[in-house]
C-alpha cells in the first residue's frame, strides 16, 4: 500500500499492520527517514517537499511491483510526506515483511534507493540563512544503479537540451 500525504504517520501502527499479515512472516524491516539538522547545508530547521501528484503514486507502485518480482516479500508499505516539515519530523516510511530477513532487508533498501532517484519528489531545505533546493547526490545515483543488474532498464535519460 502506498500513501503520499501531508499528514504525519504512526510508525507503531504501520509495524502492527505488517506484523499481522501472515503466520509465515519471520522478518520485518522498517526504514524511517527524519528531517535532520544537517542537510546540504548546516542549521536546517525544516523542509518543503514538492511532488508531481499522480506520477508519484504511479512510480512508487512500479517500484513496489519490482521489489515483489525480485524478492520473496509478503507485504510492502510506503508512505511519503509532502508539504512543510520541521526538524525531526518523519518524512518517509518503508516497511517490508517476508519469511526471511535477507529478502526483507534487500527489498526495503532497494525501495529507499529507488525512491531517492526515481520518484518525483523535490526537497527544499529551510535554514536560518534562507532556503535552497536540495541537489541530487551522486552517491544516491550510484546506490540506485548498484541494484541495476537484475532491473529492467528504466532509468530516464536527462532530456538536457545541450545539442545533439
Amino acid at each position: 500500500m502506498i500513501s503520499v500525504q501531508a499528514e504525519d504517520f504512526d510508525q507503531a501502527q504501520e509495524y502492527r499492520a505488517l506484523r499481522d499479515s501472515d503466520t509465515g512472516t519471520g522478518a520485518i524491516v522498517t526504514f524511517t527517514g527524519l528531517v535532520r539538522d544537517q542537510g546540504d547545508r548546516a542549521g536546517v530547521t525544516g523542509l518543503y517537499l514538492e511532488h508531481y501528484p499522480g506520477m508519484t503514486e504511479q512510480v512508487i507502485q512500479g517500484l513496489v511491483a519490482e521489489a515483489a518480482r525480485r524478492w520473496n516479500i509478503q507485504r510492502a508499505r510506503v508512505i511519503h510526506r509532502v508539504g512543510h516539515l520541521t526538524l525531526s519530523d518523519q518524512i518517509v516510511f518503508v516497511g517490508v515483511c517476508s519469511a526471511h530477513r535477507e529478502d526483507a532487508f534487500a527489498a526495503c533498501a532497494f525501495l529507499m534507493d529507488a525512491l531517492k532517484t526515481s520518484a518525483p519528489f523535490w526537497k527544499k531545505e529551510i535554514t536560518d540563512q534562507g532556503e535552497h533546493w536540495v541537489e541530487q547526490k551522486t552517491s544516491d545515483i550510484e546506490r540506485a544503479e548498484a541494484w541495476a543488474p537484475v532491473t529492467p532498464p528504466a532509468a530516464p535519460d536527462p532530456a538536457s537540451g545541450s545539442g545533439s
Binding site: 504511479q58 511519503h80 525512491l115 531517492k116 533546493w133 541537489e135 530516464p156 532530456a159
Partner: protein, 86 residues
Amino acid sequence: MTEPALTVRFFARLREELGTDTLAVPPRPGLTTGDLLRQLAARGGAWRQLDSGRPVLVAVNRVMAKADTPVHAGDEVAFFPPVTGG
C-alpha cells in the same frame, strides 16, 4: 474543432525560476520533448537554463521519457530537476 494543446508543467526549482507551473503549447507534427525544450529555451531570460546543459528530466503523461520521445496533442509534458525525495 481546434486540436487540444500540449500541457507543459514545471516543478520545484524550474517552476520557481520560470515563474510558471503550467503552459499550454500548440502541438506540431513530429515534435519531441527535446524540440519542445529548445523551443521554450528560445524564449530567453530564465528560460535559457532549459538548454544550458544543466540536467532537466522530462515525463510524458506521467511516465519518464527521453529527449527523443514524441509528443502529441493532448499530452501532458513535465520538465523538472533531478529528484531529491526519500
